[in-house]
């Protein structure tokens, strides 16, 4: 098992500028681009950091005592020991950063994103991901002046090789054909453009083009204060709004070392689990809707009941605005627990009956049972959540890095075998039951006391004033939570204590779409829709 003590010995062998350990126990090393490949090799192959969770670049112009123009941060995860490791690379404008796609294929899109946002050069040709090709504005640079964007050309199908010798047996690729699913096709539904290559029956390759809803959300957050950011981030995925709100509050609470009251922790757990149930029901509804099965209405009816519960608690259907820094806005209202118990029993009973009905239909099992994804693929592409657990990997932040008092709650993490859409369906269904189990335990042992930390029990202006005078560490900090579709969180850096200097949003949908070609390999055209629905891709999470 890897230990940080051994790591201290290892790092003396490698050249490095400086290293430190933050208050969350995460290790950070700061290096120069020339050492990056060697460090990645050690981290990936020797130290077991097999997953690149996130990568963020920042323009250091205006930061006191900065010696270089940019800083790139690679946030790595060791899934066995649950440790996290940050490699920071200081880069000058003229320098070329070695690409790390040979260690982490997921880095492909992440490098493209940093290249187009900041103009950082990597050691391989890169073209735009979220913005039109050939744009020269580099929007995340601090002095960026954005004028008119160039108009992007249409995605073209790659050229197929032709049979060099017609007299021989048919060359397999000769029968391949590329099919284009535009942004408004019934398959992609405005999420992305997709070119899929069929053999000609099954999918053999595909290419995804994203960025159609790119609003520059991360850039927008750099001009907002902490409390404004809290309002905005909840809208990244409206279906799981409490996740992003709580993740942002937790980021600040961790940085300022604020301990929130136990009752607030309990209510946050209840909110997170209710949002998980609602989002899983939405995804299962989408799967059955894609298969044109009449049962889809039943899942939406069940979700409405959950939304009613959330609305009764905080006044907003999806749980918007229930979080505040230092706790939660409202306590559970009188009679809420009794109502929850009745709805919980009703939904559990209904779900069992619906599952029996779906399971008895060949159409359901057959359509969802194709297209296996291996655990190795999930790791390579940085996939988390039900899509990863369906491949057989037992990893859930609620168990591996428990926050609040998840470690005291008795619940199981369902794990699949084959990584098919059917496995993902079963995992989501089981997670609904487990979430009910968690909420029931929490409300049975609901702690007494206040719902906001005493020092932060202030009105909006006073709270803003308090936060602006707080001493906040100016180092990178990552906070992630287990959202319904996977790990969601923020990699942040502060320069002063009023606005974030850089916010990188970690969303589960981004790696899922990058890995889409692996998920649909071997599927037939009529199976694509339900497979896509089972992944729970959220467009706003994708386009930042």
């Amino acid at each position: 098992m890897f230990s940080w003590k051994e790591f201290e010995n290892t790092k003396t062998v490698l050249s490095q500028v400086r290293s430190y350990q933050d208050q969350a126990g995460q290790h950070h090393v700061t290096i120069r681009p020339i050492d990056l490949q060697r460090w990645m090799e050690v981290a990936c192959e020797d130290l077991g950091f097999l997953m690149l969770v996130e990568m963020a670049g920042v323009d250091l112009t205006g930061v006191p005592h900065n010696t270089h123009r940019f800083e790139l941060t690679y946030h790595l995860l060791n899934m066995e020991t649950h440790q996290r490791f940050n490699i920071h690379v200081l880069v000058d404008e003229s320098e070329v950063v070695p690409s790390v796609v040979n260690f982490y294929p997921h880095a492909d899109w992440l490098e493209r994103e940093q290249h187009e946002a900041l103009g950082i050069q990597f050691s391989r040709p890169l073209h735009g991901l979220l913005l039109p090709h050939d744009q020269k504005f580099f929007p995340l640079r601090k002095n960026a002046q954005i004028k008119q964007w160039p108009v992007e050309k249409e995605l073209t199908a790659p050229q197929l090789r032709h049979n060099p010798n017609k007299s021989e047996a048919p060359f397999p690729e000769e029968s391949w054909q590329w099919k284009s699913f535009g942004l408004f096709s019934p398959l992609t539904r405005g999420d992305f453009e997709w070119m899929v290559c069929f053999d000609p029956v099954k999918v053999v390759d595909s290419k995804v083009n994203i960025g159609f809803a790119h609003q520059g959300f991360e850039k927008l957050l750099e001009s907002k204060d902490w409390l404004q950011v809290l309002q905005l981030v909840e809208k990244i995925n409206l279906g799981a709004a409490p996740n992003y709100g709580i993740a942002w509050s937790k980021t600040l609470e961790d940085l300022l070392r604020i301990k929130i009251p136990e009752r607030a922790q309990a209510i946050r757990i209840v909110a997170l689990e209710l949002a998980r149930i609602a989002e899983h029901l939405t995804v299962i509804h989408d799967m059955t809707f894609a298969l044109e099965m009449p049962e889809h209405r039943l899942f939406i009816n069940a979700r409405e009941k959950i939304y009613e519960l959330i609305e009764k608690y905080c006044g907003r259907r999806q749980g918007l605005g229930l979080t505040r820094i230092g706790g939660v806005k409202e306590d559970l209202p009188h009679g809420w627990i009794v109502e929850y118990q009745a709805i919980c029993e009703m939904i559990k009973k209904n779900l069992k009956a619906i599952h029996r009905s779906l399971f008895s239909q060949n159409k359901f099992r057959k359509n969802l049972g194709a297209g296996q994804v291996s655990a190795q693929t999930a790791l390579q592409w940085g996939i988390t959540g039900p899509a990863m657990r369906a491949c057989g990997l037992n990893f859930d932040l609620r168990k591996s890095q428990p926050f609040y008092f998840y470690q005291d709650i008795d619940f199981d993490i369902p794990v699949g075998i084959h990584g098919t859409a059917y496995d993902r369906y079963l995992i989501r269904l089981e997670e609904i039951y487990q979430s009910f189990r968690i909420i029931t335990q929490v409300i049975d042992n609901l702690p007494l006391g206040s719902i906001v930390s005493q020092e932060l029990d202030l009105d909006y202006t006073a709270l803003k004033d308090y936060l602006s005078h707080s001493e906040i560490p100016r180092t990178w900090h990552y906070t992630g939570l287990e959202s319904p579709n996977g790990e969601a969180g923020f990699l942040v850096k502060f320069n002063d204590s009023t606005t974030p200097y850089r916010v990188k949003i970690k969303t589960p949908s981004f790696p899922l779409v990058q890995a889409l070609p692996s998920f649909v390999l071997g599927l037939q055209e009529h199976q694509l829709k339900s497979c896509l629905a089972s992944l729970g891709i959220r467009r706003f999470e994708l386009d930042r």
Binding site: I146, F184, K235, H296, R297, E304
Partner: protein
Amino acid sequence: MSKKIIPVLKIYCLCQPLLMTEWRSILSDKFAHSLPINLELTDDPSQASVIAWDGMISAKMQRLLPEIEHMLKGKTLLVMGEAQTLLKDHPFVRIFEAVENAPQLTGWSVLPEELLESLMSCYQKSSHV
């Protein structure tokens, strides 16, 4: 005895990342029967009579504007006008200038009741054209 035929209003949601979860709610038993028409969400814009759109044009979406304008011909457009005020003068996006009298949704967080109300005005508009 003649059987009453209930008209069907088919809706295509064009790129609405914010509201996507809420559109499904109108299919639930709680809301589906609250209007004198049947509502159906469709994935095929050619079949829809109402196109619901947030009206946001990103840098990459510029290329698709002619396609969108073609899609809107003969349909009723439902836009999220007020919700986009945050993005006014935003350097990354511009807002589609909706046709006059297009039914509008208000606010960032739209309730299913508000969706139904605006869909009813879409239905009235489309049935009078």
